[in-house]
Symmetry: C2
Subunit: 194 residues, 2 copies
């Protein structure tokens, strides 16, 4: 997605340790016009799929998922992160490890809001090692829902997440794939996909 790549080059900050900060427009301050273009692009890429619901994970996935959901005319469910879950049998629970925060979270979704046979699209802002998305896939499998695809705004192509999802035969659409970052020069290389 050209507009997104241009924005990452303009306002993204490449830091040591494979960190790409895009909090100027995506995950702290949010440019809603850009989010609308992102939502339209996800709709274009998943236009052939039946989508009943969008699933995302707090916090920075929520805004993108809500704007995107307007183009699919479906509700959004966001998985909640918690460090102490009461296992009451009313929720799906899995564990994920955060790349950014170097922590393990419980991730929970109420059983009321994911049903067997529902066609679900996963949306998130970033994919690195894929832990968050794999956690959401575990929850969808437990619910008996049908995974129609995964839409990611920025994929770090030099980490394993995207490869592992594609190898499972899931339609993964990443709007920008970063294949290399050079913190000394503050530069990055995008995969040519379009």
């Amino acid at each position: 997605m050209k507009l997104l790549k241009e924005r990452i080059r303009k306002d993204g900050i490449v830091k040591e340790g494979n960190v790409l900060k895009v909090d100027q427009f995506l995950n702290h301050q949010m440019d809603i016009e850009l989010l609308n273009e992102i939502g339209k692009e996800f709709k274009r890429r998943f236009a052939q799929k039946q989508i009943d619901k969008i699933l995302t994970i707090e916090a920075s996935g929520i805004g993108i998922a809500c704007i995107t959901a307007q183009y699919f005319h479906v509700p959004v469910v966001f998985a909640k992160k918690s460090q102490s879950v009461n296992l009451d049998g009313e929720s799906y629970v899995t564990k994920i490890e955060s790349f950014t925060h170097k922590r393990i979270y419980d991730v929970i979704v109420s059983k009321k809001y994911l049903k067997e046979g529902e066609h679900v699209l996963i949306i998130d802002d970033f994919m690195a090692n894929g832990c968050a998305v794999n956690g959401l896939l575990d929850i969808l499998e437990e619910a008996g829902a049908i995974v129609e695809g995964v839409g990611i705004v920025i994929e770090k192509g030099f980490q394993d997440g995207g490869k592992s999802i594609r190898e499972r035969g899931i339609q993964l659409e990443s709007l920008a794939i970063v294949d290399a970052m050079n913190p000394a020069e503050g530069s990055l290389t995008f995969r040519e996909t379009e």
Copy 2:
């Protein structure tokens, strides 16, 4: 807002301890069509104000703020909750106490995304004792921003938050104000405001 009150009566769950669960449509699963009507209503109520930016707080405020921002054509900034902040001088930090989770959080906003003289509208899903909104007001004061108003989806009118904000002379617009809840009957009473 009639549509919202009807939805709270239909799908809200009144529980012991003054808990009102609206996770069927507002803060776990999100009904995006309802969020659009909420966004339009906030625009109607703040139509006379100059708004440069919407400020909210993770996680459940984000979706509402993003959908609402489309009607104001402004970016959204969401304050981040953290339990351990590195005070690097690059962020505004304050402490808030969560009514729901009975915990104290640090709340942070990067200084890059709130500037002196910016006209800001605060949006959030719930107001009870007002701690979250008061924390955001502290941050806006520190930034030298201009508070144009506070938009809340559901206010618990029997707690102090709303009163304290109104007494400060701030335009507070709550789309539904709950004045009493009866968990035995599962019923609630709305304030007549329209």
